[in-house]
C-alpha cells in the first residue's frame, strides 16, 4: 500500500523530530564523537559516521561491497547504481521530482512525529480539537527505522512506495546506517543564529578597484534590500497566522563580511582559515580574483562551506567536488567548445591534425587544457601544443614557418589581438590551414578587427550571450542597478551579482529554518533553468551535483566587409 495525497507520491520515511541530537557537528568534519568514547557496531563513533556517510552517499557497505536492495518489488539494484543520496539528497532533506516526493531522512525529521504543519505551542492550543488530527505517523525508533529500511514499512505499518529500496543489511551495517541518519543534518550549520545568516565574499588584492566595487557594491545592495524588510518580517513572525508560522519564523537578517586576501596566492589558505576562525559564515557569496580560484575552492571543500557563483575565469574543473557553484568553466569551457565544434564539423575530417598556439600564460594554458582534455575524452589524439615564450615575435615569417612545419593542420590560436595582427598571412600561404580558431575573450573587442581574408575560415569562441538577444534581462538588470543608485561600471560583473542576489533570496526562503549548508546547495540543485534574471548568458541551468551553471559557448564567425558582425555558427551547447 502506498500513500497518495493528491500532491504526488511520497516515498521514503519521515517525521519531525525532537531535538535528539547527542553530538554537535564540528565545522565541516561531521559530529565530534571521539572525546566521548562512544562506539557503534564495535567501531569508534566517528569511524561509524564516516562509514555510514559512505553507505548513504556512495552506496558502499563498510566492507567496501555495494549495498544491495530491491525497488519496485522485483528490480534488483546495488549501491553503485544509486544510493540514498540520489533521492534523499546530500543533506537528507529529500527531493521533489515531477509527482514523486521523497521525504527527508535527516535526524530532526525522522525522530519526531510527522504532523501537517509546524506550529508554536501557543498556536497549537488555538486549533480546535476536531481540526487537530493526531500525527500522521509517530516518531521513528531505531527499530522502526531498521524495519523501514529492510521491509519498507513505516511506524504505522504503512507500506512505503516501492521506489524506496528495500535494503539487504545485516545488523551491524544497519546500526552504522542508523547512526549516520541520526546525525545527518541534525543541527544548524555554523554561520547562522536566531537573528542573522552570515555570509562573506572573498576579494584578492590584485583585483582592480573598479571590478571590486562592481562586485561588492552590487552584493551589498542586495543585502541591504533584504534587510530593509526585517521589521515587517519580524512582525509577521510574531503575529502572522498560525499556518504561516513555518514561513515567517525562519526569517533571518543577512550580514556580509568582505574577506580581503593580500599577497601571494600561496598565503591565501592561511588567511582564509584565519577569517573563518574569527567569524564563521554560512556561505561565501560571489567573490573575485584575477587568477586561480583554487585556494578558495579548496577552503570551501575542506570546511564544507558553500561558495556561490564567484567571478573567475579560472575555476577548479572537477566532476566530484561539491562546495563551489561556478557560473561556468571559464576559459576552459571555450577550449572545450572549440574541440567539440571541430569534431562535429562537416568540412574538416575527424582525423585532421591540430596544433594550438598560445603564450606561456595562465590564460593560454587554461584554454589549451580545455581543448586537449576534451579531445582526449572524445578519444581523439591531442593537439600539438606550441607554447610561446614572452619574447617570441609573431610576424609574417612566424606564420609561414608554422604552416611550413604544420601543413594541412587546423590551427587553434589562443592569442591576443596584437599577436594576430599579421594573421592574414595564413590566407596567403599554401596550403591554407583548413580552419583557425580564436577566442573572443582573449581578443576582446579587437576580435572585430580580424583581417578580412581569414574570416571565412576562422571560428571564434564566444561564451556569452549577444547584446541583441538579452534585451529583456539586460534592461531588468540595468533598471535594478539604477534603482539602487549604482552606476554601470562593469556590467558583466554587476549582472552576475544581480543574478546571485536574486537567486539567494529565493533559495533561503525555500530552506525555511533548515539551515544546513548541504541543503543550501540541494535547494539550488533543484532550481529551474533561468533565462530572464541573467543578462550575460542565454540561460543558466542547474541539477543535482552540477557545478557549472552556464553550459554553453557559441562558435561564431565574422561577416565580410568593413563593419563586420558576429554570426552564430553553432548552438549555445555543442556536444
Amino acid at each position: 500500500m502506498s500513500r497518495t495525497y493528491g500532491i504526488g507520491r511520497i516515498t521514503g520515511f519521515g517525521s519531525w523530530t525532537t531535538l535528539l541530537v547527542f553530538v554537535a557537528l564540528c565545522v565541516g568534519a561531521g559530529p565530534a564523537f571521539a572525546q566521548r568514547g562512544e562506539t557503534v557496531a564495535g567501531l569508534p563513533a566517528d569511524e561509524a559516521f564516516r562509514l555510514g556517510e559512505r553507505m548513504y552517499r556512495a552506496g558502499l557497505l563498510p566492507s567496501g561491497e555495494p549495498m544491495r536492495a530491491f525497488v519496485q518489488q522485483d528490480v534488483e539494484v546495488d549501491g553503485t547504481m544509486f544510493s540514498c543520496e540520489s533521492c534523499h539528497v546530500r543533506s537528507g532533506m529529500g527531493s521533489i521530482e515531477g509527482t514523486v516526493i521523497t521525504l527527508p531522512t535527516n535526524a530532526t525529521w525522522l525522530y519526531k512525529p510527522l504532523v501537517g504543519a509546524e506550529m508554536s505551542p501557543r498556536s497549537q492550543e488555538r486549533i480546535p480539537k476536531r481540526l487537530d488530527p493526531p500525527p500522521f505517523r509517530p516518531a521513528y525508533t531505531d527499530k522502526a527505522l531498521a524495519r523501514a529500511l529492510r521491509l519498507g514499512k513505516d511506524p504505522n505499518d504503512r507500506v512505503l512506495d516501492y521506489v524506496m529500496p528495500r535494503y539487504l543489511l545485516n545488523s551491524s551495517d544497519m546500526e552504522i546506517m542508523i547512526h549516520y541518519l541520526k546525525n545527518l543534518s541534525a543541527e544548524s550549520s555554523p554561520g547562522v543564529d536566531d537573528t542573522t545568516l552570515k555570509f562573506a565574499t572573498v576579494v584578492s588584492n590584485e583585483v582592480s578597484a573598479e571590478e571590486r566595487q562592481a562586485m561588492v557594491q552590487t552584493l551589498t545592495a542586495h543585502i541591504r534590500d533584504h534587510n530593509s524588510q526585517t521589521r515587517h518580517e519580524e512582525r509577521r513572525a510574531r503575529g502572522g497566522p498560525f499556518y504561516k508560522e513555518e514561513k515567517y519564523v525562519p526569517y533571518r537578517r543577512y550580514s556580509l563580511a568582505v574577506w580581503e586576501l593580500q599577497g601571494a596566492p600561496e598565503t591565501w589558505t592561511a588567511q582564509l582559515e584565519d577569517y573563518y576562525r574569527e567569524g564563521p559564515v554560512f556561505a561565501l557569496l560571489g567573490g573575485i580574483t584575477t587568477g586561480d580560484w583554487a585556494p578558495i575552492h579548496e577552503f570551501s571543500e575542506r570546511n564544507r562551506v558553500p561558495c556561490l557563483l564567484p567571478v573567475t575565469d579560472y575555476p577548479v574543473i572537477s566532476e566530484s567536488d561539491w562546495y563551489t557553484l561556478y557560473f561556468s568553466k571559464g576559459h576552459y569551457q571555450e577550449g572545450e567548445t572549440a574541440a567539440r565544434f571541430l569534431r562535429r564539423s562537416q568540412d574538416v575530417s575527424r582525423d585532421v591534425a591540430v596544433a594550438q598556439v598560445y603564450r606561456a600564460t595562465r590564460q593560454g594554458r587554461e584554454l589549451a587544457e580545455g581543448f586537449n582534455e576534451t579531445r582526449l575524452r572524445m578519444r581523439l589524439p591531442a593537439a600539438e601544443d606550441i607554447e610561446l615564450e614572452d619574447d617570441t615575435v609573431i610576424d609574417r615569417a612566424f606564420w609561414r614557418k608554422l604552416v611550413n612545419e604544420h601543413a594541412n593542420t587546423v590551427l587553434v590560436l589562443w592569442l591576443e589581438a596584437d599577436d594576430l595582427s599579421t594573421v592574414d598571412e595564413l590566407a596567403a600561404v599554401e596550403p591554407r590551414p583548413p580552419a583557425l580558431f580564436v577566442s573572443s575573450t582573449v581578443m576582446g573587442e579587437s576580435v572585430l578587427s580580424l583581417p578580412e581574408p581569414v574570416r571565412v575560415f576562422t571560428f571564434i569562441t564566444h561564451p556569452n550571450s549577444f547584446a541583441e538577444d538579452e534585451t529583456r534581462s539586460r534592461l531588468a538588470t540595468e533598471r535594478w542597478l539604477q534603482a539602487k543608485g549604482l552606476p554601470i561600471t562593469n556590467f558583466e560583473t554587476q549582472a552576475k551579482m544581480y543574478f546571485l542576489g536574486w537567486m539567494l533570496s529565493g533559495m533561503v526562503k525555500m530552506m525555511r529554518d533548515d539551515f544546513y549548508r548541504d541543503y543550501f546547495f540541494d535547494v539550488i540543485d533543484m532550481m529551474r533553468d533561468q533565462y530572464y534574471s541573467i543578462a550575460v548568458y542565454p540561460r543558466l541551468s542547474f541539477g543535482p551535483g552540477q557545478r557549472y551553471a552556464s553550459k554553453g559557448c557559441y562558435v561564431v564567425q565574422l561577416t565580410q566587409g568593413p563593419e563586420p558582425t558576429l554570426e552564430k555558427r553553432s548552438n549555445w551547447v555543442v556536444h
Partner: protein
C-alpha cells in the same frame, strides 16, 4: 524556484490533514503504472549517442526487435535511477538481450548530458550493447519529448514514462508509472508477438 519536500508536506498535507481525517488518506495502493496504447509520429531528428556518434533517431527505432524508450537525465534524483535499474534488470534477465530488445534512453537535460556523461551513466548501470542513451540539441530533444507526449518545460518536473514499440505492427504502448521487471518483460514479450498482456506469463 522548485518546491521543497518539507514545504510540500507542511503546505499541502497540512491543509489536507486539517480538513480531513487521517483515515481518509489511508487509501489502498492503486496500480503502480497505467498502460495505454498510443499512436506516435516519430520526428526526423538526428541525435547523438554515448559514443558521440550521430544517429538518425527515426531509423534507429525501426528494428525487428521490440524497442523500449524512456526519458531520463544523468544527474536525476529519483525517477531515472529506478527506470534505469529496470533497464539494467531486463538486460540481466534476458541473457541475449541485445538480440531480443532495443533499449533507448533519451536525456531531458541535453545542456548537461553530453556523450561523456551518457557513457558514464550507462557504465554505472552496467549497460550492455543494446541500450543506447541519446542526447541532442535542446530543440531536437524538445521535439522528441513532444512527439511522445512526454514534454516537460523543466527537467525536475518530469514523469516516469516508458514506451514500448512492437516490431510486428509498429504500435506503441505507453506505461506511466513505475513498472517492475516482470511487468516490463511481459510487455516486451507481448510486443514481440503475444496477443494480449493477460496471455503472457511472468518470467
Amino acid at each position: 524556484m522548485t518546491l521543497q519536500p518539507r514545504a510540500a508536506i507542511s503546505g499541502c498535507l497540512g491543509v489536507i490533514l486539517l480538513l480531513f481525517s487521517v483515515s481518509a488518506l489511508a487509501s489502498d495502493r492503486g496500480p503502480r503504472f497505467t498502460r495505454t496504447e498510443v499512436e506516435l509520429e516519430i520526428p526526423a531528428v538526428t541525435l547523438i549517442n554515448q559514443e558521440g556518434d550521430t544517429v538518425d533517431f527515426r531509423a534507429q527505432l525501426l528494428t525487428d526487435k521490440p524497442v523500449v524508450v524512456d526519458f531520463i537525465f544523468a544527474t536525476c534524483t529519483t525517477i531515472c535511477p529506478v527506470l534505469s535499474a529496470g533497464y539494467s534488470n531486463i538486460q540481466r534477465k534476458l541473457d541475449d538481450s541485445q538480440n531480443r530488445v532495443y533499449l533507448v534512453s533519451i536525456t531531458i537535460d541535453p545542456e548537461h548530458d553530453g556523450p561523456e556523461e551518457l557513457a558514464t551513466y550507462l557504465q554505472r548501470y552496467r549497460a550492455k550493447p543494446g541500450w543506447d542513451f541519446l542526447t541532442g540539441t535542446r530543440e531536437d530533444i524538445d521535439r522528441v519529448m513532444k512527439a511522445f507526449e512526454a514534454f516537460v518545460p523543466d527537467k525536475m518536473s518530469h514523469r516516469p514514462l516508458m514506451f514500448i514499440r512492437s516490431p510486428k505492427n509498429g504500435k506503441w504502448v505507453r506505461l506511466h508509472g513505475f513498472a517492475g521487471s516482470a511487468d516490463l518483460l511481459k510487455e516486451i514479450r507481448l510486443a514481440s508477438g503475444g496477443s494480449s498482456p493477460e496471455e503472457v506469463g511472468d518470467e
